[in-house]
């Protein structure tokens, strides 16, 4: 787990003059399950393709066990890929698809037969040897793609949104399956997705990317609990992000009040972003609350209610297990350790207010343009 | 996504480029050269000017082709419609039936039609057997036009049929839903949406009709000279190559112009369909 297998050093990449990667530095260790997470267009797939050898970086170095592999073509790299739409060869049956890599390496046919059988057993594809890819379901094609890559015993397996084409139920099953295969083989997995839930539940390390830059690298809990900026806080889970000022260590002022918190190390009166997760806010009677506001929306979510509360014009999202009537006046109580303080960044002020709340907020294709302008205008009005 | 191209990938089109220059562009340049020179190789407009004496041939050819094309459309459109409405399993058979004549040599088809219509042919012997007067057909303009219709009808039907099968059935349902009776649906929805097929059918019938010489030789009995016959005759003797080249050039320009006009219509329709 400790030795660095792949190292990316200040990678830059542009397509037709448009910068898609900008100073990417990343260490990937042996046995690690790393997920590159970000909205579409953030550069995660390009990063993966550079590791796979399908793109060459304009600047920077790709090192594999300390050796520079920038110009090594994909077929010379001990790396295999599970492609987004599987890319199974339509003219070959399942057996021949899986055996493809071994045949190229002139492995004897008897050995191929044994290894293909083992691999098909491991991926639950026994009995499908003679089927053509076109006759398989999405989940089965997915398994063939994994088997075809893994049979070559690669040092690293790259997975480019492999579950994107599957339905929700199947996706959950395949997540467990992939985790199991990762544990069983001990191969380093580099996984690309835009689904934060998938990233948090599967990975050892999550790399959050936006606008061609790495925003944060960390374990899933770190990323969720200690987001470094407003982008990460917004992209991972739901969050209320407010403008605040750090009056001094462990004293943050926002929403017109001063709160006790657990963070420190900021300059005196430094402007900051404050993140408070919806499940960390308690609903209390108005007189007991640190803040109070009017409930403007209530949505039943099964095991909790999601309510939107207007506190002095800023809309908070709160998750609570008790029903609250719309238009009710309620108080809000926040524990000191529920308040997370972040440095200001280019993403400050772009997220966090739920007055334009919609499901699309989960999946912003271009966070710079339309959405932010919309939000600013609603904030002003 | 710039990929390094292998030598094979870069050089692959070269033989074709050379071939195209030599045997497609080259010959056309020679047509130009011959059309504008005399027997001594001197530049002249005489060949083009001489074409005025062929004006009536151009006129007859155009008339025959236009009439034949119009009949092909009138006969072919309902045929394509009927084919498109048949059961899918039948449609397969119908398509083979439609394409088979296209693959049989034009010579054979024209020849078989001629032997049928000839004075000593089956039709006239049947007429005679029924005690009717024989019908002198071969050698008339009607027979030439009939030959064009017979030979080129499949070329009209195929593109129209193709555009009909591509037509989304929901448009027809939507039209019915909005109150069109079947006839109104045909004229307001099906016809406009299959216009690209119609235009390409028109080109595919008009071009071979106006340039044919075998049909007029066989079914016209030598009484009708069309552009094709005239060109063919000029190239039997070296001395008339120049005038033959001039006629070819003019016919080619005529066809390019009409195809371009129809092509523009077809394209516009397609764009309209996309939008």
């Amino acid at each position: 787990m400790n030795n660095t297998l792949i190292k990316l050093c200040s990678i830059d990449k542009s397509f037709d003059g448009e910068r898609v990667l900008c100073g990417i530095d990343l260490d990937i260790h042996d046995n690690e399950f790393v997920t590159l997470l970000g909205p579409s267009g953030c550069g995660k797939t390009t990063t993966l393709r550079i590791i796979g050898g399908f793109e060459t970086p304009d600047e920077g170095e790709v090192l594999f066990e300390g050796e520079r592999i920038n110009d090594l073509p994909p077929y010379r790299r001990p790396i295999n890929t599970v492609f987004q739409k599987y890319a199974l060869f339509p003219h070959l049956n399942v057996y021949d698809n899986v055996a493809f890599g071994l045949r190229l390496h002139k492995v004897p046919e008897e050995e191929i037969a044994t290894r293909v059988r083992e691999m098909l057993e491991m991926t639950g594809l026994k009995g499908f040897e003679n089927r053509r890819p076109a006759t398989l379901s999405g989940g089965q094609q997915q398994r063939v793609a994994i088997a075809r890559a893994l049979i070559n015993n690669p040092r690293v397996l790259l997975l480019d949104e492999p579950l994107g084409a599957l339905d929700l139920k199947l996706r959950k099953d395949m997540q467990n399956e992939l985790k199991r295969i990762h544990n069983a083989t001990g191969i380093t997995f580099i996984y690309v997705t835009h689904d934060q839930e998938e990233a948090l539940s599967m990975s050892d390390t999550v790399v959050v990317m936006a606008d061609g830059k790495i925003q944060q690298i960390g374990s899933p809990t770190d990323i969720y609990n200690e987001p470094v900026n407003a982008f990460v806080a917004d992209f991972i889970g739901e969050s209320n992000i407010l403008d605040g000022v750090m009056q001094k260590d462990r004293k943050a002022r926002f929403a017109g009040q001063t709160f006790d918190c657990v963070d420190g190390g900021f300059a005196k009166n430094e402007p900051v972003d404050i993140v408070i997760r919806p499940e960390d806010v308690d609903v209390v009677p108005v007189e007991k609350g640190m803040l109070s506001g009017t409930v403007t929306g209530v949505t039943f979510k099964g095991d909790y209610y999601e309510i939107i509360v207007d506190v002095g014009g800023f809309k908070w999202m709160i998750e609570t297990s008790d029903y609250v009537a719309p238009d009710a006046e309620i108080g809000l109580y926040i524990e000191p350790d529920a308040i997370h303080v972040m440095k200001k960044s280019e993403y400050s002020g772009k997220f966090g207010d739920y007055s334009t709340f919609s499901e699309e907020m989960d999946w912003i294709s271009d966070p710079d343009k339309e959405v932010s302008e919309d939000e600013e205008t609603t904030l002003l009005s | 996504m710039k990929k390094r191209l292998s030598f094979l990938e870069r050089a692959a089109a070269v033989p074709h480029l050379v071939w195209t220059l030599l045997f497609i562009i080259g010959p056309l340049l020679f047509v130009l050269y011959f059309a504008f020179t005399d027997n001594d190789g001197a530049f002249t407009f005489a060949n083009i000017a001489h074409l005025s004496s062929y004006a009536h041939i151009f006129f007859v050819s155009i008339c025959f082709s236009v009439v034949a094309t119009a009949f092909c459309l009138l006969i072919g459109y309902p045929l394509a419609l009927a084919m498109a409405r048949a059961k899918p399993s039948t449609q397969k058979l119908l398509l083979v039936l439609l394409m088979l004549p296209m693959w049989i040599s034009l010579l054979i088809r024209t020849y078989s039609l001629m032997t049928l219509l000839d004075n000593g042919g089956l039709v006239n012997s049947l007429l005679r057997a029924m005690g009717l007067a024989p019908w002198h057909m071969v050698g008339t303009g009607g027979a030439v036009v009939l030959g064009m219709i017979y030979d080129f009808l499949p070329y009209m039907v195929l593109p129209i049929y193709t555009s009909m099968t591509k037509l989304d059935k929901r448009y027809l349902e939507a039209a019915a839903d909005l109150g069109c009776n079947p006839c109104q649906t045909l004229f307001r929805v099906t016809l406009p949406l299959t216009a690209p097929g119609i235009f390409s059918g028109i080109t595919m019938v008009f071009v071979p009709s106006i340039s044919t010489f075998y049909i007029s030789q066989k079914l016209g009995g030598g009484n009708f000279d069309l552009i094709g016959d005239t060109i063919e005759r000029q190239f039997q003797y070296t001395s008339t190559y120049h005038i033959g080249a001039a006629i070819s050039l003019v016919m080619m320009l005529l066809i390019i112009a009409s195809v371009a006009i129809f092509g523009r219509f077809a394209d516009k329709e397609e764009e309209g369909m996309l939008a």
Partner: protein
């Protein structure tokens, strides 16, 4: 309404096939009349097979079709590969439209223009009889080329580029990935181009009429000469044989086409 359209359809088809059918039936006629059928006989077939000129032209047609189809398929497939990889969009569309000229131009103009080229070149090189085998091969290859390209190029365009990456990911060199993955995918297009070129060459009369000489006759040229003046009954037999051959070929092509389409439909349904 439905019956009416069905009746109309079958009447038109009957009219379309009547002359051909009459010709086929009368090729087995014992007598030498077009007007009355006097009994079944293979007489005209016998006469046809004793006609050495007919057999020669059949051989010429076949060999010419094989060689021109192979040549056109080779050049055309390479051209499609080159066009697919070409990055210069202007050049690409220019090449594509020039290639299509023989397809758009009336055959007579193509034939006449090539004849002028060959005759002029012959005159420059001081040859007496330029027209013949070689010019026929060139002409047939030229008019088949656009059809080959038309049938191969879409296969390249439809080819899923990630399959190429997948092959390289699994250890193929670019050449291996072309041979093992891309070629099998475009092969149906190459084969249908080959068959198309073959049949076009067999069928062509107009262009051959201008670029060949009396020493090199193909079947259509032979038919043309035979039908120029008086009717020869052995031509009925010949035409019948050709029609049967074409029917068989068409069924094969249709079957092969169905196979490819069926596969594609299944793949489409999965998406």
């Amino acid at each position: 309404m439905k019956t009416l359209s069905r009746v109309y359809m079958w009447v038109i088809f009957a009219l379309l096939y009547a002359p051909i059918l009459v010709l086929v039936i009368f090729s087995f006629n014992k007598g030498g009349s077009l007007a009355s059928y006097t009994g079944f006989s293979f007489k005209w077939y016998g006469e046809l097979f004793r006609d050495s000129v007919a057999l020669d032209s059949l051989k010429n047609s076949f060999l010419l079709a094989v060689f021109s189809a192979l040549l056109a398929t080779l050049i055309g497939t390479l051209a499609a590969l080159g066009l697919d990889r070409m990055r210069n969009k202007m050049l690409k569309s220019a090449v594509e439209s020039v290639t299509n000229i023989p397809m758009m131009n009336p055959d007579i103009v193509t034939g006449v223009s090539m004849m002028l080229l060959f005759v002029a070149f012959g005159a420059i090189l001081g040859l007496r009889d330029t027209l013949g085998k070689a010019t026929m091969l060139i002409a047939h290859t030229t008019f088949s080329l656009p059809y080959v390209i038309l049938s191969v190029l879409p296969r390249f365009k439809q080819f899923d580029k990630t399959l190429r990456e997948a092959a390289q990911d699994l250890g193929c060199t670019p050449m291996q990935s072309f041979l093992k993955v891309e070629l099998p995918a475009i092969l149906p297009g190459v084969l249908s181009g080959l068959v198309m070129a073959f049949t076009l060459s067999l069928d062509d009369f107009v262009i051959s009429h201008f670029v060949s000489s009396p020493d090199f006759q193909t079947l259509p040229l032979y038919i043309y000469n035979q039908t120029a003046h008086n009717v020869k009954y052995s031509m009925y037999a010949l035409c019948t044989l050709i029609i049967v051959t074409i029917l068989a070929l068409l069924l094969v092509i249709n079957f092969a086409g169905d196979f490819g389409k069926g596969k594609k439909r299944k793949e489409g349904a999965k998406k």
